[in-house]
């Protein structure tokens, strides 16, 4: 898995868990808030019911006095006392009906008598003495209680609902509402800006004053998710997710390490088996590769012998020169075989880049010229010192050039271009031809021993080259760029 995917996975995991955690904290806080609201409502309802019961008690007391004494100073005294003690009771009066007219006498202040009270038609129809009726007015916090004292005589009491709820009963910031039937007496809304709202209501326990009390609470984000709780939780979660990531990475790294070790072991076994199997193939390959110079040697030697008989010194010399060359070639082949089999240690020395290349090319140039192949060489920083095994380096260059020359056999205007330059601490040598390139199917295998596309190839030239370059702590790679292009990187001596 890539680091990027890993990162994305952990981020998603963290985001998911964080959201779940936040939702949980929010839900818990909301639930406890709603429970608290219900408790407050219940308390407030009880306190309200007590107050309403007081009204009933006062009405009963007043009714008794009115019944016994009639409108009198006694009623006045009692009513005044009640009015001064209970500011929410804003009016106490009696209404008497005599024929078609009504007289209202107000007692809670200095006695006021209003003859011909106009609202006679709106009086509630009460039949049984002691029964009560309640009335409210739209958009008014006050409500009226009528109590029939005796036929034709009512007690009248007006309550200011706005004073029913004391400040300490309803928690700060909560909203509340008192309604009577359709009419809202008091509407104290909850503060704006909350994320969630909860509302609970109850019917106040009073037969004479069937009020409904409703309380609402708004929950802000900071209340649902208080930072002091959420932040440490998120930090702990982030830590856990990170730990999980590290743990997974460690597990995976260990598994990969095991896999690599297993693969390496298998590779080693395979390589060994391959070597054993390859011995027969190698013997056949050696025979084939040696057949060429030996064939040339035999024919030339026989030609030389005949040249002596013909007294042709020119042919004799030519044949002997060729014999020397071919015998050396056979020796080279044997040397390469030995080098491949033994993999002898590299004799590293520091050689100027240009000189190393010139010497390596000198070996190949006659063959290239004979084949009509143009060679272009560009060397920059040629004085920099290359750390190489000179013989090995020559073999590498020779192998690559020979492959290029073979590939160019059927090519019009065949050319090989060599470039060498310093790049930091390395020399980069590219050898490119304008041939058909390396078949794409062969490209991944060309450095494998015994892989060859040539009918008479052994498949050892490039693997040996790769091995030689590696012993010189360099690298070699092949690609197709117009034709085949080999890039060799070899270490340069530090310039001081």
């Amino acid at each position: 898995m890539t680091m990027k995917r890993e990162y994305r996975l952990l981020t998603t995991l963290f985001a998911g868990l964080a959201l779940a955690l936040l939702a949980l904290v929010g839900a818990v806080n909301y639930r406890s808030g709603v429970e608290d609201l219900s408790r407050s409502l219940s308390d407030a309802g009880t306190r309200l019911a007590e107050k309403l019961a007081q009204h009933e008690a006062h009405l009963t007391a007043l009714a008794a006095v009115v019944r016994m004494a009639g409108p009198s100073d006694s009623v006045h005294g009692l009513a005044q006392a009640i009015g001064s003690f209970y500011p929410r009771i804003v009016e106490i009066a009696t209404i008497r009906i005599e024929g078609d007219t009504a007289t209202k006498v107000r007692y809670d202040r200095p006695v006021q008598t209003q003859s011909d009270w106009p609202d006679i038609t709106s009086l509630p129809a009460l039949a049984t003495p002691g029964s009560t009726a309640i009335r409210s007015r739209p958009d008014d916090p006050r409500y009226d209680i009528y109590k029939l004292v005796s036929p034709g005589t009512y007690l009248f009491m007006t309550i200011d609902a706005g004073r029913l709820i004391a400040d300490d009963v309803v928690p700060e910031n909560d909203g509340y509402r008192i309604s009577l039937g359709e009419n809202r007496l008091i509407d104290h809304p909850v503060e704006a800006g909350a994320l969630l709202h909860a509302t609970r209501s109850l019917a106040v326990n009073s037969t004479s004053q069937p009020l409904r009390l409703e309380m609402s609470r708004g929950f802000r984000v900071s209340e649902l998710l208080p930072p002091i709780v959420v932040l440490p939780l998120l930090l702990a979660l982030a830590g856990a997710v990170r730990f999980l990531g590290e743990y997974r990475r460690a597990i995976r790294a260990r598994r990969q390490e095991e896999l690599r070790a297993a693969l390496l072991e298998q590779e080693t076994k395979l390589a060994h088996a391959g070597r054993v199997n390859a011995l027969g193939e190698m013997a056949s390959g050696i025979a084939h590769e040696l057949a060429q110079p030996v064939a040339a040697l035999l024919s030339q030697s026989q030609a030389a012998k005949r040249a002596m008989g013909l007294d042709r010194a020119d042919i004799l010399e030519q044949a002997l020169d060729a014999n020397v060359r071919e015998a050396k070639r056979a020796g080279d082949i044997l040397g390469r075989m030995r080098a491949y089999i033994a993999g002898g240690p590299a004799q590293i020395e520091a050689v100027p880049l240009e000189r190393a290349l010139t010497e390596a090319l000198r070996l190949a140039e006659p063959d290239l010229t004979r084949r009509g192949i143009g060679l272009e060489t560009v060397v920059s920083s040629g004085e920099r010192l290359l750390r190489i095994d000179v013989i090995g380096f020559q073999q590498v260059i020779h192998n690559i050039l020979r492959n290029a020359a073979d590939a160019l056999a059927a090519q019009g205007d065949p050319r090989i271009s060599i470039r060498a330059e310093a790049a930091g601490k390395q020399a980069v040598i590219t050898i490119a031809d304008n041939g058909p390139g390396i078949p794409a199917s062969a490209l991944p295998h060309i450095f494998e021993p015994f892989f060859t596309t040539k009918p008479d190839g052994m498949g050892l030239g490039l693997p040996l080259s790769a091995r030689l370059v590696e012993t010189m702590e360099g690298s070699i790679e092949a690609e197709n760029a117009g034709g085949a292009r080999f890039t060799i990187r070899l270490p340069l001596e530090d310039t001081k």
Partner: protein, 193 residues
């Protein structure tokens, strides 16, 4: 003339050097394509082909040469000759199959044999060319002549007049370049063996 095809320059050089000491004229080619491009039908010769060549093998090259009407004797040489390769080479019509390194005397024997085969091949080709000039009727007459029949017998066999047979025989003598019955018969038999 010897046409030599081998992808190894050293082998090419060595063989042509050796053949030069025998006074042979040699043309060398690194691969099949070069030979096909330069082969001259007017200059018939012996082919010496390496079995393993880049791109096109020695055997495939033989087939391609045949397609071009070149069917000269060929010697196949190879770095390692296995029985199967040898069998296939002979089936493809090679005259000899040699393994590298090739000994001078073995090679020269093979070349000599090939040269004889080439001469015969060329002679037959020449004869065939002469006989190809005959018309259908003249060929019928010539066939009977080669069987030893006289003009009268031929006339009877073909139910034509003796004069007609004689005029055909005059034309045959002119086209084959000889009035001698023995020579005419030799040519005919050489082509129809």
């Amino acid at each position: 003339m010897i046409y030599l095809v081998d992808d190894d320059a050293a082998v090419r050089d060595a063989l042509s050097m050796l053949l030069a000491t025998y006074g042979k004229e040699v043309m060398t080619f690194p691969d099949a394509a070069h030979l096909l491009a330069h082969v001259d039908r007017a200059k018939p010769g012996v082919l010496i082909l390496d079995l393993r060549l880049p791109a096109v093998s020695g055997l495939q090259l033989l087939t391609q040469l045949s397609a071009k009407g070149v069917s000269w004797p060929a010697i196949m040489i190879t770095g390692h000759g296995d029985v199967e390769a040898c069998r296939r080479a002979f089936r493809a019509g090679v005259t000899d199959f040699l393994t590298k390194p090739v000994d001078e005397h073995v090679l020269m024997e093979a070349i000599t044999a090939c040269e004889a085969a080439l001469a015969e091949h060329l002679a037959r080709a020449e004869t065939t060319a002469l006989l190809d000039q005959l018309t259908g009727r003249e060929a019928e007459v010539m066939e009977l002549v080669s069987k030893g029949l006289g003009s009268k017998e031929i006339a009877a066999a073909l139910t034509v007049s003796v004069r007609t047979v004689d005029s055909h025989r005059a034309a045959i003598a002119a086209k084959l370049g000889t009035p001698a019955v023995a020579e005419q018969t030799r040519l005919w038999l050489a082509a129809h063996r």
